[in-house]
Symmetry: C2
Subunit: 697 residues, 2 copies
């Protein structure tokens, strides 16, 4: 292992930052480090390494094409981040800016738990990255990229010493390509994003009721009749696997069974437990169709199918789904009932356990370890299985106690629209898992964020994943003391910008969607629409479906304001911070008060400013309840601010009326499937303005 | 030919719109038609055709893969423009929304002057497109796309009848891949943009002093040593040719010779007239190196090279450049001087004519017609040549009088940063060409916009081409009476939005570049930077080079504010319209006055608001002269507005001081290579505010 030599050490300041303190200032440098996820250990040095057109990278030690590719990507990315012209072909002159030493190869097929650690030393004369294998090198290169910052004198990397390794070995993102097809280029740019935040598992949900997305040559009617023509060819899948491997990311395919499988039956109805006819499901929800667990033909089919897919996906793990079987087709099928009776299978849970066991055997036979959702954990199931918990940390801890490996996804469902802070607070080793023995804790491999795609398509998926996924990535990589939410947000905002250089569209998608919604506009009209979109969020959890008059389907256009807003409004987050500051100052801070007033003025005016657009565009008209709710709610907050600043407290009955109005306005926004994230801050202002409130004393 | 049947005709209103009036309102519909370029003839009907998820297109008559591709692209583009889910695989049900009839095939290799006409009929029950051949069909499909608009009830196309054909057969865009390499995907999205505005020639400038960008298998050192590794493989070139053909676009390659050829000599110095050594040129300008026109080896080489490229590029035309030879290497080479003496070649112009003639013979031998810049037109040159005029309409008209075909590029240089209106005013048949005979006018084939890439790279090239190129496209397609500038701008703004759906980045590039320039920021700081960028333009013509302290080279980063501003500021254009309205109302229109005041307030505050960023980022600091100039100039305009609204006219001496100050501030902005496009409007306000001005009477 490479050690930090005395020459480097000598310039390091005594101050050793803890992981969460890496963005704190130190005496030598007043630039916070915008690394995300935060490294295990950072020591700041003096001075900085200039990054200019002479930049080049050199590789020593173990070499392989993957490292060359990573070097080229690093150069390209530096060019994008800085705009410098770095000619790869002309880099012979002078010593390398970044010297990379890799000790040895990693496994040919990337495995769970391989060493991903690295050390990075930056001095004003050069940078050195050292890792045991290419996986660590890949991680360290992205830390280096994140350190490049603009300064008054050009671009540079601050001098420092980093020693870093992940907390969990399984740090994944699941993308649901079943419900909405997600094109190849979108998958690729999300793999780029995963690499940037050091995630290492791409869990690819490839089949569901609404679509079967992988080409099968053995059973071509799966993709031909189950996908509306929207599927990945085997060549494309191999391309993705290779693309991911280049970035140190494993690809775990999921073929959900025995439920969530209607799309299989469009081409192969004989697999189902009912009599059909079957076609691609267009609605969202849990449906009756399920594979027939009692027919040997099913297992013959699955044996061949799993064999084919096991060859296509080299990873050691193979996800078989197993969630949400309602059992209705089983109940209704006399042959299945007879089978259960003959085998003394008491209920559908046991029948599913029987099915799961048979499928796990097939997966094992094809040299893979199975992964399944919570439901696959039944008494007696083989210890080879990995449990992916969507139900909660409790079941994960319970599984670990029984000796099963698990990964956490509960709390990491990105489609629910939670704040980054709320995801960040979820810890795979939190709750009951905290009480596990060290050996049991080892069984908790990490976690996976999930983006289920009912309301997600190629256009808005990036915005539903990023930047919040970076907070989850940090939870899974950084030491467990990394819990400073303000620091997380500051670094996430910066990372969000960097992710755009990788081609992700989580910010840029909005303007073009709003242009479609507006159709044509004056600048003032468009400003109002943008201000509206940036002040709102889509409804949380599954409440959006409850609000929809006509339940949406997979054919419902995702072209509405609800599809164009961010899950977590940056503007609203900043406004809430301002209100907290203001109320915290007993409403004495008039500078902050003025900022709050300016924001409220903008929001109160939106309803009127949008009128002309609402008359021309059905998509703006549809959002009218929300724009009206925002403007009226902001007016209530403005009245509260006036009351505070005039020293005229709201009487108790008035306070109640205002709070009730705010709640009613929130309900009104739901008509557009939107929510007012400023509501708690507005409520605080009303409380503060009320007789006896903190600002009225 | 398909005729408009009485059933369709009967619903058409009597009002027949002229070409330039197509965006005027009529009684039946208050929606202007945002078609660009404007069709030759438009008749509005009653009602509209709904566009929803059931949309599908059917092809009748002649069929070919190119039409199928166009149909798929149309569907995809409708999905992007509307967000509707249109399942190509599921389109069997019901009658086609758009029925396309194509009579017969076009030429296997697209030729100059093929029929591109089409007729489009839209009624509330369906649309019919009819064309003689696939080229006309492609043009008509894009007109249909442009007609899709959002309404209070959904998306629809207004009922109408269009008969359309181009005014000129050669409507091109030249992209300079020599000075900066332009990646393949950037070329492709620009071809998409060209198709959208009905341009039909992609002129690909593939070699220059700073780079040789096409793979040659016969002479591999051309690209290996002349490109820094940045070149197009032959496979990629074939891909582009096919991609362009799919869109009805010819690809004319240009290999500039005998000058502009330093990059050739990096690998093949024996072609040059000097003794070298030669390497890729990094500076901009006109340089001495030129091919040796006296050595038979040169022609042997060019014969083989042109033969290779003639096979790679199927188009009938082959561009040999021929511009800007300074002759210094010829003067300095005794062998060349001896050759001239022996052959009675009196000067370098004649020597170049000799070279040109030889090269034209080679091009002709390889079954191509040559194209060259103005300079190739010398007495006796073959009539097969097409003259591309960069010097002006005069030389084009003169060439036509001598019987030479020509295309206009003077006035269409997009890199000069002119306004769309200024390009729009240039007409290939304007000036002296207006006096040509009809036969001579036929020789003027059209025109080509050009983007020379000294200050253009993959990141900002779209913004330098679009949307202004749409105005040039309209000049070359639409009838010669199409000259309403306000209509052009209104439609160009809409087309600019549509071009984004094709993937062009002419608007989206700016925010990411500004984020790089800022580094890190508060929202208020970033708003100030964006407001600054949107108020400024880069210097026009070639004055930017004059302003640069260190002359830029091909290695100079294009990461500065000057690289991130738009060539034509939309905000400034709107502001100028406001000022004209205000002054036109004798400054009585207080609503407009308030809008002007709000804009000026924003600009006056920018300098202060940017201070914190300027202290953190060298790229913001560098723009400080321009931000200060804008704020101070806006302050002068604000003082004028105050004077007007207070009824206190500026005395004559004060007026002069203010106007002088404005000019000085413009000079100050040049230090950042930027210009203040608001200056004329500011001057108008000062004039209006002065004693005796229109607003002080």
């Amino acid at each position: 292992m490479k050690r930090v030599g005395p020459g480097t050490r000598s310039i390091l300041p005594a101050l050793i930052l803890t992981a969460t303190g890496a963005c704190m200032l130190n005496a030598q440098s007043n630039t916070p480090l915008n690394i995300m996820p935060l490294p295990a250990k950072v020591e700041r040095g003096d001075g900085s390494l200039k990054i200019d057109a002479s930049f080049h990278i050199a590789f020593a030690g173990y070499r392989e094409p993957r490292l060359e590719h990573a070097g080229l990507r690093l150069e390209r990315q530096i060019q994008r981040q800085t705009g410098l012209v770095i000619l790869h072909a002309n880099k012979s002159a002078g010593p390398a800016t970044l010297e990379v030493t890799t000790d040895r190869e990693s496994k040919a097929i990337q495995e769970l738990g391989e060493d991903e650690s690295y050390k990075l030393d930056v001095t004003p004369t050069g940078a050195k990255l050292h890792a045991a294998n290419p996986l660590g090198t890949l991680r360290g290169l992205h830390t280096f990229l994140q350190l490049i910052a603009i300064t008054p004198d050009g671009f540079s990397v601050p001098a420092l010493h980093i020693e870093d390794r992940p907390r969990f070995p399984w740090r994944g993102l699941m993308i649901d390509s079943g419900r909405h097809f997600i094109p190849l280029d979108v998958i690729k740019r999300n793999l780029d994003g995963m690499e940037a935040v050091k995630m290492n598992v791409f869990h690819w949900h490839l089949s569901d009721n609404q679509g079967f997305r992988a080409e099968s040559r053995k059973f071509p009617r799966l993709h031909e009749q189950g996908s509306d023509g929207l599927f990945y060819t085997q060549e494309e899948i191999r391309d993705i696997v290779e693309y991911a491997r280049d970035r140190g990311i494993r690809v775990v395919p999921e073929f959900d069974m025995p439920g969530h499988s209607t799309a299989w039956f469009a081409g192969y109805p004989e697999l189902a437990s009912g009599s059909g006819p079957y076609g691609i499901e267009r609605k969202w929800g849990i449906f009756d169709p399920a594979m027939d667990p009692t027919d040997e033909k099913t297992y013959k089919f699955l044996n061949e199918f799993i064999g084919e897919m096991a060859r296509l996906f080299p990873d050691q793990f193979f996800h078989i789904g197993g969630d949400e079987v309602n059992g209705k087709e089983w109940d209704a099928n006399p042959k299945i009932q007879a089978f259960m009776k003959a085998r003394h299978i008491k209920n559908n849970l046991e029948l599913q356990a029987y099915f799961s066991g048979r499928v796990q055997d097939l997966v094992t036979k094809h040299k893979k370890a199975p992964v399944g959702w919570d439901e696959v954990l039944v008494p007696g199931v083989s210890k080879t299985i990995v449990i992916q918990s969507w139900r909660g940390v409790d079941s994960l801890a319970a599984a670990a106690k029984m000796g099963y490996r698990g990964i956490l996804s509960n709390g990491y469902y990105l489609d629910l629209g939670w704040s980054a802070a709320r995801h960040y607070a979820m810890d795979p080793l939190g709750g009951p898992a905290a009480a596990l023995t060290p050996e049991q804790k080892q069984l908790i491999l990490g976690g996976e964020s999930c983006i289920w795609s009912e309301y997600v398509n190629a256009e808005n998926i990036d915005s539903r994943i990023w930047p919040r996924n970076a907070a989850i990535a940090e939870r899974l990589w950084s030491p467990d003391g990394t819990t400073d939410v303000a620091s997380m947000y500051a670094r996430m905002d910066t990372e969000s910008t960097r992710l755009e250089w990788l081609g992700l569209t989580h910010r840029s998608f909005q303007r073009v969607m709003l242009q479609r919604i507006a159709g044509s506009w004056t600048p003032a009209e468009f400003d109002a629409l943008r201000a509206l979109a940036q002040a709102l969020e889509h409804q949380k959890d599954y409440s959006r479906e409850a609000s929809a008059g006509n339940p949406p389907t997979s054919l419902t256009p995702l072209n509405r304001l609800v599809d164009a807003v961010h899950p977590e409004s940056e503007g609203s987050r900043r406004f809430s911070v301002l209100v907290d500051q203001f109320v915290g100052s007993s409403c004495k801070d008039s500078t902050v008060g003025a900022q709050i007033r300016a924001e409220l003025q903008e929001w109160t005016s939106i309803e009127d400013r949008l009128q002309p657009l609402a008359q021309r565009s059905h998509l703006v008209k549809e959002a009218a309840p929300a724009s009206s709710a925002l403007s009226q709610a902001a007016k209530i907050a403005m009245d509260a601010l006036d009351a505070i600043q005039k020293g005229a407290p709201l009487p108790a009955d008035q306070k109640k009326i205002q709070l009730d109005s705010l709640n009613a306005l929130e309900q009104q926004a739901h008509k557009s499937q939107l929510t007012l994230p400023e509501l708690p801050a507005f409520q605080k202002l009303v409380e503060a303005a009320s007789a006896g409130g903190v600002c009225t004393k």
